[in-house]
């Protein structure tokens, strides 16, 4: 079977959630790049904490699913993609939007339902979009985005260009038909798709082992002869490298691939979920492996950064997030007269061709 379980150099399973560990950084990594990953992870962390706060202050409506605890997964994944590659995500996508380069302002403003939001206030938390950043949408129907990504890859292939399409989904999406139909379609047409499965252990309140006959989700491509790999979702570099490898396969060999990142959701399914179905001990253990704090420690241990730098970054991110809140607060709602805008595209819209 064309799958493999990632092992650490000491032979231990890399995806076990049980033991916190500190690993030194590879020497050939560029300092600025690593600090930038940390910066992005911190931004996702503070942004999501602020989103939670704003939700509880009723500034944000609807559902609100946070990436807290998944920062290494989010940042590593986005770092593994090329800037021209296309990305489809599910509804837990604030972090992906930020790491794709959308401004913190436009993401926060979307949560506030403002005209300045990345979807002009029409989509909200679950439906963020930016053609400019090739974020082809957050999608609220579990698994619904997966065939779309295959179609985007079909279009790329049709035009003979070399972008790939990555599609992010949760563990729950791998139990539905669209996922399997998509694997099959991607394989038979040899389309450049990377299926990125964030396995945070629970589909809402259902443990992965209960909802999926095979709990090692990266193996689910075997029926389609699609390569799969599992990676430690708390390790930003491991995620990035696994994604890079899959992206390379997709781009160069037109082979779709699955990357499963084993991650941990710090909170409930959404902001309003009190998270009563998870064992307290389990949550405590999961939170102990804090990918943001661990990566900071790795940077410190490797002398890539010092306490002063960390403090400076912290202040910078805090300011950025606070400014985004002010921006969102001050931005106008879409005018009610615009209610019927965008139901139908006019015939003279010229599509971005590539």
């Amino acid at each position: 079977m064309s799958t493999e379980q990632q092992k650490r150099p000491d032979g231990r399973d890399a995806t076990s959630l049980n033991k916190p560990r500190v690993v030194t950084l590879p020497e050939d990594e560029d300092r600025d790049t690593l600090v930038d990953y940390y910066h992005q992870m911190l931004l996702v962390r503070r942004f999501e904490e602020k989103a939670d706060e704003m939700y509880k202050m009723a500034r944000i409506g609807g559902y609100c699913h946070l990436n807290l605890g998944e920062e290494a997964t989010v940042v590593g994944f986005c770092a593994g993609l090329g800037s021209h590659d296309y990305l489809y995500t599910n509804y837990r996508e604030h972090g992906y939007a930020l790491c794709r380069g959308l401004s913190t302002n436009s993401v926060m403003a979307e949560l506030f339902g403002k005209e300045t939001g990345c979807s002009h206030g029409r989509g909200g938390s679950m439906h963020m979009f930016s053609l400019e950043h090739r974020l082809m949408g957050g999608y609220g129907i579990v698994g619904g985005q997966v065939p779309l990504a295959v179609g985007a890859a079909f279009a790329v292939d049709y035009r003979g260009s070399d972008e790939i399409v990555a599609v992010q989904m949760g563990d729950g999406a791998t139990n539905g038909g669209p996922f399997y139909e998509s694997l099959n379609l991607a394989k038979i047409y040899k389309l450049p798709v990377v299926f990125f499965v964030v396995n945070n252990g629970y589909g809402m309140g259902t443990p992965v082992e209960k909802g999926s006959a095979v709990a090692e989700l990266y193996r689910k491509g075997c029926a389609f002869d699609v390569y799969g790999e599992r990676v430690d979702g708390n390790d930003v570099l491991a995620v990035r490298d696994a994604v890079r490898k899959a992206v390379k396969m997709a781009r160069e060999q037109r082979e779709p691939a699955i990357v499963e990142a084993v991650s941990f959701r710090f909170r409930g399914h959404s902001v309003i979920d009190p998270d009563r179905y998870r064992d307290e001990e389990e949550v405590k253990r999961g939170r102990a492996i804090d990918p943001v704090a661990l990566f900071a420690q790795r940077l410190l241990d490797s002398h890539f950064i010092d306490e002063h730098d960390l403090h400076t970054l912290e202040k910078q991110v805090e300011r950025e997030v606070n400014e985004a809140v002010s921006f969102a607060e001050e931005s106008p709602f879409p005018p009610v007269e615009s209610l019927f805008d965008y139901i139908y595209a006019s015939d003279d819209i010229v599509q971005e061709k590539k």
Binding site: S119, H120, F129, P147, L148, V150, A152, A155, Y158, D347
Partner: protein, 334 residues
Amino acid sequence: MAEISFRQALNDTLREELHRDGNVFLMGEEIGVFEGSYKITAGLLKEFGPKRVVDVPIAENGFVGMAVGAAMLGLRPVVEIMTFNFIALAMDEILNHAAKIYYMFGGQTPVPLVIRTPGGGGQQLSATHSQNLEAWFAHIPGLQVVAPSTPEDAKGMLKMAIRNNNPVIFIEHLGLYNTKGEVPAEDYTIPFGKAKVTKEGTDLTVISYSRMATVALDVARRMEQEHQWHVEVVDIRSLRPLDRETIVNSVKKTGRAIVFEEDWRSYGIGAEIAATVQEEAFDYLDAPIKRVANVEVPLPYAKPLELAALTGAKQLVDAINELAPRRRRIITHV
């Protein structure tokens, strides 16, 4: 003008559009090597090759979603769903994705997609192969839904569907594929949301679409010849957008209306049209609006049962007799 079949009109249109725009491509089950279950795509694989005429596996959810994704990047997929019934498997991609993407992302990416599919019963295909589900789609803002009844309209509206930047459900009918009609030689499109008065009359209006519009026209002509009843026939052609103005103006003129539809009566297309007429022409109505539709059962296999379930010319004639002649009858009795 040449006289060609509905099937040929569709085939010609697909060929012309494939020639016109390199972004147009076809996908569907058995449309290539097999040339289509109903041969609408005959010869196209040979002419355009497998890049433009794509055979897909039996996975409606997957390949319709794939078409939506390809349309988001600017291709113009024309998808064939083998029969209307199978579209149920793709509903999420149509309802929650194709119809929503332009709106919910604030107008950043249109979805120029066409889904062609034939409905219709009467061929003993029984419950899962004989349905008319147009009301599902006509209900959804973000979609355009058309159901032409003649080869000329089929060609002009399919061109419009392919060239327009929105998702279009293009409804065909098994019983129409062999019907013939004149089709202009030049390139033309027919705008959506324009009904056509296919026969003028003063006594009563029959509002219909797809195959029933052709049946209505036959009935109306016969009633005129045999009984001098002047029935007006409105072929709405486009279900969303709906040309309310033409319907309402016709009913204002005749004072009586029948909606003749091949879907189930409850919550069907006729319900929307009847509601529109009473909202906008209530004072002009001389009688309640009638709906002539299929009987509300899953379509059975046995021929006598199937015949009893389907609506048709007889049901329309009965309805006209019940509705239109009251005034005349009184005159006859005096």
